[in-house]
Symmetry: C2
Subunit: 253 residues, 2 copies
DNA sequence: GTGGTTGCGTTTGTATACAACAAATTAGAT
DNA sequence: ATCTAATTTGTTGTATACAAACGCAACCAC
């Protein structure tokens, strides 16, 4: 179809993935409002894909947790309460805690721990500068995500890894979901330092095969993210840095 | 299409759901072997639905965890190791533990606890007879599933409930996954009695707002299921009662 | 005036046709 | 005989056409 026959980028990824990414962007950017029914036909127009891949993308986004199936058919954008979000974060923390415990109890070789330690050192380097620049915050987000991914893998449990990935799919539940939002807060640096301490402790615990300690510290680590969330929501100055803002339902809804 | 124009049952549920159920049955019954690529065209024949709903069903079954996407396209039946299964059970136990803790910490009214207690009493009634009949085992499975569902809801956390449902979707990870398999084992009755004690304790803990205790006992409860799994696998006499048997990959694979 | 019914328009669910891709097999050449 | 290359077959991904269902609105009857 279409006047432009094929662009290379179109062929490299499937239309389904393209539609999924486009729709996710629309949802997170707020183009599609929570509670609103998503019209397939409209999605076809905005994404450029045809109905079949759009439909596929909608199903995947539902499984991802961003959409909700309407009983009579079709999908709507899901709305989240503040408690939904904090619960999702604590949920992720609980799963990461289990992963850390598995890693500690089952044992991890020094070789496997190496990338984690490198990541830790890189974050240390980043935190050395005061005050922390916006660019440093971006780097932190990337390194933090990497740390969490590596840690998750240490569990060597495919079912658990899979479940953690799913729990982190919600943008506000991901390990670095609210880091950027608090970049301008005065407490920002302290929080980052505390978080890094958690990283350090969990590695130590895993190294010494202290399962309970590793689990506990990862849970506490997630509580820190919940605190970030609260801070960011109270202090709405830099809320525009948050993509998922549009999904939070206020008390008036 | 087809010679038989329409059966009422066909029209009541969507073709997608029909295909999903049919394919799940085929997977769990072993008609489709682990590692084997699922041919859409073949699925169209066996399910009676057309390619579009079949495709939809395949996507959903992948999200469910029964299928795995092949990089070059299409899906294959996933194979699970024994550790995958025990990890999945422990994963569910961890999530149920979190649900119990939420319920305990956030408080539950006597009214909300009522159905749980009724369920508990019904199981008590069931366990009174010795030895326990096969029919009683079936009733137990249903009541046990109900108990776990009610308990999960007590958390009043939609994200957590959702995640628990997903974790329990794998048939062998569900609360009653291995109960039937051990129905003929000599230890059967003891295990059921111990499980029921866990049920009793978790309710008591929630009532007294003892979050840590509620969480711990639900985790232990899942460990009991892991023990069931081990027993059932070692003692392969009644393994035919297990639907998911075909998915377990042996050491030789 | 209100309630029910009917008809239309838009929606989703389903089927199928088409095209691009991947793999396998066969033929040819060295 | 073996390796390479090309063709062929069967696969999935995509697009579109069709049908049924739902919602809405207008109109008629009571």
């Amino acid at each position: 179809m279409k006047a432009a026959p094929e662009r290379e980028v179109d062929r490299s990824v499937s239309q389904t993935v393209k539609a999924q990414l486009a729709l996710r962007d629309q949802i997170l950017s707020g183009s599609l409002r929570p509670g609103e029914r998503i019209s397939e036909l409209q999605a076809v127009e905005t994404t450029g894909a045809s109905r079949t891949p759009v439909r596929m993308a909608l199903v995947r986004l539902e499984e991802e947790g961003l959409l909700e199936a309407i009983p009579s058919g079709g999908f709507m954008v899901k709305a989240f309460s503040e408690r939904d979000i904090s619960d999702s974060i604590e949920l992720r923390g609980t799963l990461e805690g289990l992963a850390a415990r598995f890693a500690a109890e089952r044992g991890v070789s020094a070789r496997e721990l190496e990338p984690l330690k490198e990541c830790l050192a890189a974050i240390d380097e980043l935190l050395r500068q005061v005050p922390i620049s916006i660019e440093a915050f971006s780097s932190y987000v990337a390194l933090n995500a990497r740390f969490h991914a590596l840690l998750t893998e240490l569990s060597r449990s495919p079912p658990l890894i899979r479940q953690i990935d799913r729990a982190s799919a919600l943008p506000f539940a991901s390990p670095s979901g609210f880091v950027m939002a608090q970049s301008a807060l005065p407490e920002a640096q302290q929080i980052l330092i505390i978080g890094q301490e958690h990283h350090r402790v969990v590695i130590d615990a895993i190294e010494n095969r202290e399962g309970a300690r590793a689990e506990a510290v990862m849970r506490e680590h997630a509580r820190l993210a919940v605190r970030n969330l609260r801070l960011a929501l109270r202090n709405r100055t830099h809320l525009d840095l948050l993509p998922a803002l549009a999904l939070i339902k206020t008390a008036t809804d």
